[in-house]
Amino acid sequence: MALLDMTATELAAAIKEGKTTAVDALNEVFERIEAKEDTYHCYVTIDKEGALKQAEAVQRQIESGELSGALAGVPVAIKDNMCIKGMLTTCSSKILGNFVPTYSAEAVINLQKAGAVIIGKTNMDEFAMGSTTETSAFGATKNPWNTDCVPGGSSGGSAAAIAAGECFYALGSDTGGSIRQPAAYCGIVGMKPTYGLVSRYGLIAYGSSLDQIGPMSQDVTDCAAILQTIASHDAKDSTSVSTQDTDYMSALEEDVKGLRIGIPKDYFGEGLDEDVKSAVLHASEILREKGAIVEEFNLSLVDYAIPTYYTIAAAEASSNLERFDGIKYGYRTKDFNGLHNMYKKTRSEGFGEEVKRRIMLGSFVLSSGYYDAYYLKALKVKALIKKAFDDAFSKYDIILGPVAPTTAPQLGSSLSDPIKMYLGDIYTIAVNLAGLPAISLPCGKDRNGLPIGLQLIGDCFTEKKLLRTAYTYEKARGAFGKAMEQTGKAAALPEKEGM
């Protein structure tokens, strides 16, 4: 088997058995990057020299028996909103275009301790605000399944890098679907863990009550191995929770007998693409055949999740992004007249359009006179949405539905109409509001050969049940195939109708 055809855990096993080395694996990844990166643009920063040194050091530790984990020696890509000491970390924004952190994110440190070899930092929507990776200040990433299409976002660089074989696995972050949706568009696995399961220390904040770091991988087994490695209680993140039971790989069993799966009827209404609908429903049939009890139900409040989310996320973003002031780090405008003018010009020149749009909206909903009508109202609706999920999980173990209403849209077709773009988040966003874990995995392809994502949502801290269900489905589905096999062969897409 060629090294690049291996999953992360298969590669780690092969290195451990002496069949290959961390250095050989890294060199193959760099060959792929050299061949494909100009086309796909998955990365903002590539640290070839540093990665080679890491690979050599990790290889020695594997040979001496010091390192033996399920990911030891495997090259990984990190989304560019996670700090890595000494490595450029930009959030794909001009305002952080020259920022070199003095410390690393806890999730990254956990990976490094497990022998990860960090290739570099992946492209994203600026400050994770977007659904296409087109709001990046450093140019768009292209979908390896069809380079006329977006990879999704905001973790689009991470998803595309996996689909293109430019890394073996990656970390992403998910505030309203930013791991799950690009995973769906790129035909890979992505998981948003329960809020608090993975430390947010060193993750550059967007909407702090919603942000969560999670695994992006080639299959469910890798996903479990990554989650097991990055989940940890961290005193440096006061919302981090302490969980004892993080042996996620033990959940990889083919067993859904008696599992109660609920399908929200309100996730299958207007706007859902027919191909997506039939692929997702087919996946539910497969789980039923495997012994799960599958029922339809009304989740309710689905249409209220997007306005609630954009109010809360924009409010938190406007507060979180106050720190970018041109004083301590990052960009500072060249010509200014006094302190306040410097702040305003720095921020206006440093932030892109979508970021400014959300900062303005957030500042407004938090402003005196409108706080109760907008921000407080949204926090109350959030409580209602949480309650709707609590009710659902009193009847069901897992909620099953689509990740996104369509497959990957064409480049350049989304940004002109923000509300239309936000509507694409309808199935992912409520999960963040309710703090729940959810996984996205490939369940078919549409008429144009683009991947379709299946979303499984669990109650808080039921990651094992989610992984077991996803694993059972994945085994029944069989191999999904890789984007790189289709490169150059995929036919040009016909013009897509509006959503």
């Binding site: 020259n98 920022f99 070199v100 003095t102 809020y195 608090g196 009550s209 005193a235 006061s238 919302t239 929770v241 409040l301 249409d303 209220y304 997007i306 306005p307 954009y310 109010t311 041109g326 004083i327 301590k328 780090y329 990052g330 200014f336 006094g338 302190l339 003018n341 702040y343 305003k344 010009k345 921020r347 206006s348 932030f351 400014k356 749009r357 900062i359 303005m360 909206l361 957030g362 500042s363 407004f364 909903v365 402003s367 907008y374 407080l376 109202k377 949204a378 926090l379 109350k380 609706v381 959030k382 409580a383 209602l384 949480k386 923000p418 509300i419 509001l433 309710a434 703090g435 808080c460």
Partner: protein, 97 residues
Amino acid sequence: MANIITDETIDYVSILAKLELSPEEKEQAKRDMGRMLDYIDKLGELDTENVEAMSHVFPVNNVFREDVVSNSDIREELLSNAPAQKDGMFMVPRTFD
């Protein structure tokens, strides 16, 4: 409700947001924010009279720790990211006349 977004609102919000918008950007912001708020007004359909606002999904308490210094002196490293520095300090524009 979009009619609440006047030129004055945009000017006021840009002061809060510390953003300087060009005339075109202001017009765009007025349109975008108006549309977004019209959309958010949908939440008004729900009766939340007796609902408590939820800022955090789990019952969390204050997290306390001893007030001890745990970080080392990395002044030079931190300053190396600053747009301007002088004598081991961040350099800022004149604030008082």
